[in-house]
C-alpha cells in the first residue's frame, strides 16, 4: 500500500493547517463532486456513452464457450489481500461474472490466496447464483482457499487448470510473478483467457499470453461495463472529467514550475505564493 506521510513532509501551513492536506482536500472534494454529479445525472435516465473494451465484450462469449463445452470457468481474483482495491474490484467483477455463469448453469471455480478474500468470494458467488435464481447450482467446494504462499497457490491453481480443465480462465486483480505461470499453463490447457491488472510489471505477460487484457484503470471500469448499471456508467464520465482536471493541473504545474515570471506574476496578483499554494502538495 502506498504511503501516507503528509504532515512530516510539508512544513507549509495555511491558517495553522497543513497546506498539503488542505490542497488535497479541495482536489478530493472536486473529484467527488464530478463523480456524484454524473452518477446522479445518470440516475435520472441520461444515456451514457462508453467506448468499447474488447476484453469485456468477449466476457459473455467466453463464459458461453465453457457452457457449450460443458466445462467450468476459472476465476482468479488476484493474489493480493482485501487492503488492495484491485482485489475488491476483482470481487465486484466476480459478482457479475458469476451471475452470467449462473444464468448459463456453468460452474465457477474460484481459488483464493488470501484467507479473508476466501469468505468474501464465497459470499459473492453464492449471492450471484441466488440472484440468478439458481441457488442449487452453487457448489461450496468451488470457491477454495488454496494457500497463503504465493507459489503454493500458483501450483494449486495450475493443478486445477490441468485436472478440472476449465474452458475459460479469468485473471482479474493484482498479480505478480505467477501471472505468466498461470497464463501459459492455461494456454497449454487450451482455455480462453481474459486478464486484467493494474500491476504494470505483469501487463506485458498478460498482453502476450492471454486473449484479452484489461490495462490499469480498465479493471476498475469493468464492473460498470458488465453490470450496465447506469449509475456506475455515469461515474466513469465523472472520472474522465477528473482526468481532464489533472491534465490541466499538469500543464499548469509545468508552466508555473518552469516559468519563474508567471509564478511571480501570480504571486503579485493573488498576493499569495501561487505555486506554493497549488503545487507544494507532496
Amino acid at each position: 500500500m502506498p504511503s501516507i506521510a503528509v504532515d512530516s513532509l510539508s512544513p507549509v501551513t495555511i491558517w495553522g493547517y497543513p497546506l498539503a492536506k488542505a490542497v488535497m482536500g479541495v482536489l478530493m472534494a472536486t473529484f467527488f463532486a464530478f463523480i456524484l454529479y454524473y452518477t446522479l445525472k445518470a440516475r435520472k435516465g441520461r444515456e451514457v456513452y462508453v467506448r468499447p473494451i474488447a476484453g469485456l465484450a468477449a466476457m459473455n462469449e467466453a463464459v458461453g464457450r465453457a457452457t457449450e463445452m460443458g466445462r467450468p470457468i476459472l476465476y482468479v481474483p488476484g493474489i493480493a489481500d482485501v487492503s488492495d482495491i484491485q482485489t475488491i474490484a476483482a470481487i465486484v467483477i466476480l459478482g457479475e461474472v458469476a451471475k452470467i455463469a449462473a444464468s448459463y448453469d456453468t460452474r465457477t471455480i474460484v481459488p483464493t490466496r488470501d484467507p479473508l478474500v476466501y469468505p468474501i468470494a464465497e459470499e459473492t458467488v453464492k449471492n450471484a447464483y441466488t440472484d440468478a435464481g439458481r441457488p442449487d447450482a452453487f457448489r461450496r467446494d468451488d470457491v477454495r482457499f488454496l494457500s497463503d504462499d504465493q507459489f503454493a497457490f500458483t501450483a494449486g491453481t495450475t493443478g486445477i487448470m490441468l485436472r478440472e480443465k476449465p474452458a475459460t480462465n479469468l485473471f482479474m486483480g493484482a498479480f505478480w510473478a505467477e501471472s505468466l505461470i498461470l497464463a501459459e499453463t492455461g494456454f497449454l490447457a487450451g482455455a480462453i483467457q481474459i486478464a486484467g491488472t493494474a500491476n504494470v510489471s505483469q501487463l506485458p505477460f498478460f498482453v502476450a499470453a492471454c486473449d484479452y487484457t484489461l490495462i490499469g484503470e480498465e479493471l476498475y471500469a469493468a464492473s460498470a461495463y458488465l453490470s450496465k448499471d447506469p449509475q456506475l456508467l455515469g461515474s466513469l464520465k465523472g472520472s474522465d472529467l477528473a482526468k481532464v482536471l489533472f491534465g490541466v493541473l499538469i500543464l499548469l504545474g509545468v508552466a508555473c514550475a518552469n516559468l519563474p515570471y508567471l509564478n511571480r506574476l501570480l504571486d503579485r496578483v493573488f498576493g499569495l505564493p501561487a505555486y506554493e499554494l497549488l503545487f507544494r502538495f507532496n
Binding site: P2, I120, V200, K243
Partner: protein, 243 residues
Amino acid sequence: MTVLALTWQQAYHDGGIWVAAILTLAIFSFLYRDNPVYKLAEHIFVGVAAGYTVAYAYWQVFVPNLWYPLHGLYRGSYPGRGTEEWWWTLLLHVPAALGLLFFLRFSRRFSWLSRWAIAFLVGAYAGVNLIAYFQSDLILQTKGTFVLLDPARLAEDGWYKVLALNIPILIGVLASLTYFFFSKPHRGVLGVSARTGIFFLMAAFGASFGYTVMARISLFIGRLQFLSYDWIYPLFDLKPPLS
C-alpha cells in the same frame, strides 16, 4: 554421545539438502508434462504451506496482537486501567468479534451476520486506499511531471538535453492518460492522442519484459547453484568455485 549428536545434525542437514534437491527436480519434471511425481510435489507444497500459514498466523498474529494484550487486560497487569493504551486494548474486542462473525457462516440462521465483518473490512480499506492512492499515486505522480527545467540540471547538461528528456515524458503522460478515457469515442484528436498513448504503454511493457527476463534467468541460475554446489559437488567432494 557427541558422535551421535554430530551424526544427527549431519543427517538433519544432509537429509534436508536431499529432500530439497528431490523436490526441486520433481517440480522441474513438470516441464516435460504433468506427472505423478510433480503431482505429489504439488500436493506436498499445498499441504505444507497451509499448515505453515496456520502456525504462523497463530504465533505471529493471534498471540502477540490479540491474545497477549487481552490477557494482560483481563489480568490487570498491563496496561494500567484507564490509561489511553488500556482503551485501545479494550477496543481489540471489535476485531475479535468481527473475526468470530465469520464462523457464523456455518449457521443457516445467522450466516448473514458474517456480512457485517465483510462490510466493515471493505469499507475501512476503501477509505484507507482512497486517501493513500489519492496522495501517493495521483498527486505525487502528477507533481513528478512538473519538473522540466531543473536549473541545476540545466547548467550541467544543457537545455536541449533536459528538454529532450522531459518534453517526451510530458507528451507521453498526457497521451497515455487519454487512452483511459471511457466516455468519449477514440476518434479525431482524442483518437490520435490515445493511439500515441498506446505506443508509450507498449514501449513500457517491452522494457518491463526485458528486465523481467533478466530476473527470471537469475532465479534459474540460483536453482542451478543450489543443485550443483549444495547437493552434487559435496557428493563427489568437489569444491564449489567461489560462493
